[in-house]
């Protein structure tokens, strides 16, 4: 078989535009959280955020959040150019304070869930989701 320079070029590891380095929490994310909490203290715990450790597809990352007793939950993708993802509001008759959705992540970053509790206090949980070019399995 003959292999020549003229052989069809192929895109190797592709997607050169993909952001791979971890993205930092941007100011817009901090602003979004501050707007939701009105600057109040946010405790850790009381919120469960389930997200994959490594995204199978950064364009559609399944996440799930639950915070028993919450009135509302804010979801922020801290490294996205537009960090606000969603706010779930729960009425008094909601059977459970949990929701799931799919989000798009521009690169490796923290996803943060902030819950506003019925008593007006705030709690949060965060998870780092890695977006990788992958390709080297054992």
């Amino acid at each position: 078989m003959e292999l020549s320079r003229r052989e069809t070029l192929a895109l190797g590891l592709g997607a050169a535009f993909l952001t791979i380095m971890p993205l930092r929490v941007n100011a817009a994310a901090e602003d979004a959280i501050a707007a939701f909490t009105g600057g109040a203290d946010v405790a850790d715990g009381g919120v469960t955020l389930t997200a994959p450790e490594i995204a199978e597809n950064g364009n559609t990352v399944p996440i799930e959040v639950s915070a028993p007793g919450a009135a509302a939950i804010l979801i922020v993708a801290a490294g996205n150019p537009e960090p606000g993802v969603a706010t779930f509001n729960f009425g008094a008759l909601a059977a459970e304070q949990a929701a799931s959705t799919r989000i798009r992540l521009a690169g490796t970053q923290d996803v943060i869930a902030v819950a506003k509790m019925a008593d007006g206090s705030f709690a949060k949980a965060s998870a780092t989701v890695k977006v990788t070019i992958g390709g080297c399995g054992g």
């Binding site: 791979i20 992958g134 080297c136 054992g138």
Partner: protein
């Protein structure tokens, strides 16, 4: 490592296996004459349940040579912890004599010389003999296959995994989990799994569209053994669509899903399980972390990272057993389960010395049947090697160096990249290289050797990305492979740094110049996970190169400078 004072009975495999040897010089060790099948199989049957674990066979039906790694770095809490210990430190940790059969089986030193003394390892006909011997002691022993079974050889590729399915079915496993199997494509995987005469398990195999458990794979199965109820939960490789081409199995989603693992453990306990066994393809460090996160697992049979450990590693009350790769080892694990709990465990990692353990003739015949149509192609001699060819290790192995040279020469590239996989047998100095040998280190369903242009910046990005898959201090962010192998490129890596800061001093070897982030380089590589990658299959590239060379000599590779190890 397990404490000697632990109430559980754990056999000290290395010493119990061969007796305490007073012989220090390997050349004087009577080798095969003193090593008998009885010694290899000696095991005082314990408790009321036996598990037999095989994993990561990578389609190696016949005996092979397989050199264990010299460099296997642990990061963060894993630093210098098993399995991140190699060579003399490994032998010291387990009391293994230099030059002994255990030293040959478990460490890399003097490999070529010891290989000539102790011979090849593995072969599924020998594995069958060991399984039969264990079943003679305990007829209802559970045989559990950790996956990476239907991938990795010429015949496996040509038959789309059927050769392995036929031979494994004859060994009568009770359950299996998966990784490379999915690279056969979901249609083929579904077709095989539908007809498997044993359980196909994976609590983390989900339907990608609905994010619900996939119907074809059960999360767990119960077995009634020795008057107890044994639950075996499957855990497939979590990062399949990332480490391998997701477009080949788009209907499936994976992930670690340790919350669901906890839910499954709770579910089987509520349903009366006396003992919970996880058949895992997580990789060792991920299993170690999972054992700390998920409560109630008694035993994890660990696969994926190819570690061969002669003793279990204990995390809380969970015993993690790791059984090597390429058919080189079988683990026997006896459990004493009474009154709804595990009271004790006895384990032995059995090395399959193929000249010592007699083959099971029925399985030999079956293996030969699978190979017969391809025998001429398999056995064709392409060249010869003066150097030991091996792959295992965090950075380049000599097989990888040869493959990278082939890519640079045959594809006229500045730089070559080869995937950091951990499978592929070794070839001794002086041995012929056959077509089968080349396929054993290259066979896969996405083999195209691409040729493309990349900027220096992008090459850096790739090395940082793959480096983080290996050296992230949190095991849940590791994919369990090794570093991407490079040819034509030198670099320094500080494994203690975070992503973006590990790789420096990138140098184009042919000119000695520093890599310019904005300059474009011609890069050849293979095993791209992207759909539509074009180029000749890698095995043709390597075959041409070896044919042109005639005899292969691989120079020592000093182009990767590792810092912080």
């Amino acid at each position: 490592m397990i404490s000697r004072r632990d109430f559980l009975q754990v056999s000290m495999a290395a010493s119990a296996l061969y007796g305490v040897s007073g012989v220090g010089n390997w050349a004087r060790l009577a080798a095969q004459q003193s090593l008998t099948p009885d010694q290899l199989l000696e095991f005082e049957t314990f408790g009321n349940i036996s598990l037999i674990h095989v994993t990561d066979i990578h389609a190696q039906l016949k005996p092979i040579y397989f050199r264990e790694p010299e460099i296997n770095l642990g990061i963060g809490d894993a630093r210098e912890q098993m399995p991140h210990v190699t060579g003399a430190a490994f032998r010291k940790a387990y009391g293994i004599e230099d030059g002994s059969p255990s030293a040959y089986a478990l460490t890399y030193n003097d490999f070529s010389a010891l290989a000539k003394t102790y011979g090849r390892v593995g072969g599924l006909d020998r594995v069958s003999t060991v399984i039969n011997a264990i079943r003679a002691d305990r007829p209802d022993a559970l045989l559990l296959d950790g996956g990476d079974t239907w991938h990795g050889s010429y015949t496996c590729y040509q038959t789309a995994g059927q050769d392995m399915v036929n031979v494994m079915n004859a060994l009568k496993p009770d359950a299996m989990t998966f990784h490379w199997e999915f690279t056969l494509g979901s249609d083929r995987v579904n077709e095989i799994v539908e007809s498997l005469p044993f359980a196909a398990l994976g609590q983390n195999i989900f339907d990608a569209e609905w994010d619900e458990p996939a119907e074809l794979f059960q999360p767990y199965k119960f077995f009634d053994r020795g008057g107890a109820k044994v639950a075996v939960i499957g855990q497939a490789f979590p990062y399949m669509p990332i480490a391998n081409p997701g477009w080949m199995f788009p209907e499936y989603s994976f992930g670690i899903r340790d919350e669901n693992m906890q839910a499954m453990v709770d579910e089987v306990r509520d349903a009366g399980a006396d003992v919970v066994v996880v058949l895992s393809h997580n990789g060792f460090d991920v299993d170690k972390k999972m054992a700390g996160q998920v409560q109630g697992i008694d035993v994890i049979l660990s696969g994926h990272t190819h570690d061969a450990l002669p003793e279990p590693v204990l995390v809380g009350k969970t015993h993690i057993i790791s059984s090597g790769s390429n058919g080189k080892f079988v683990s026997r694990v006896d459990l004493d389960v009474r009154d709804g709990q595990m009271m004790g465990l006895k384990h032995k990692l059995i090395p399959i010395f193929s000249d010592v353990i007699a083959p099971d003739p029925a399985i030999t015949a079956l293996i030969n049947d699978q190979r017969a149509p391809y025998e001429a192609a398999l056995s064709e001699v392409i060249g010869k090697t003066d150097s030991l060819l091996y792959r295992r290790g965090n950075f380049n192995g000599t097989w990888d160096d040869l493959i990278c040279d082939a890519l640079i020469n045959e594809r006229e590239a500045d730089i070559a990249m080869s995937p950091g996989v951990r499978w592929g047998p070794s070839i001794l100095p002086g041995q012929d290289i056959t077509r089968e040998d080349i396929w054993n280190v290259t066979s896969m369903s996405y083999p195209n050797a691409y040729r493309t242009e990349m900027t220096g910046e992008f090459i850096h990005l790739i090395l940082e990305d793959v480096g983080d898959n290996l050296f992230n201090p949190d095991p849940y962010y590791q994919q369990g492979g090794d570093m991407v192998r490079v040819g034509g490129l030198g670099y320094r890596i500080d494994v203690t740094k975070p992503q973006g800061q590990r790789i420096s001093e990138m140098t184009l070897l042919k000119t000695g110049e520093a890599i310019d982030p904005s300059k474009t380089y011609v890069v050849a590589g293979w095993a791209s996970v992207n759909e539509g990658t074009e180029g000749p299959p890698i095995w043709d590239v390597v075959e041409n190169h070896i044919r042109n060379l005639g005899t292969v000599t691989v120079q020592e590779n000093t182009s990767v400078d590792v810092v912080g190890a």
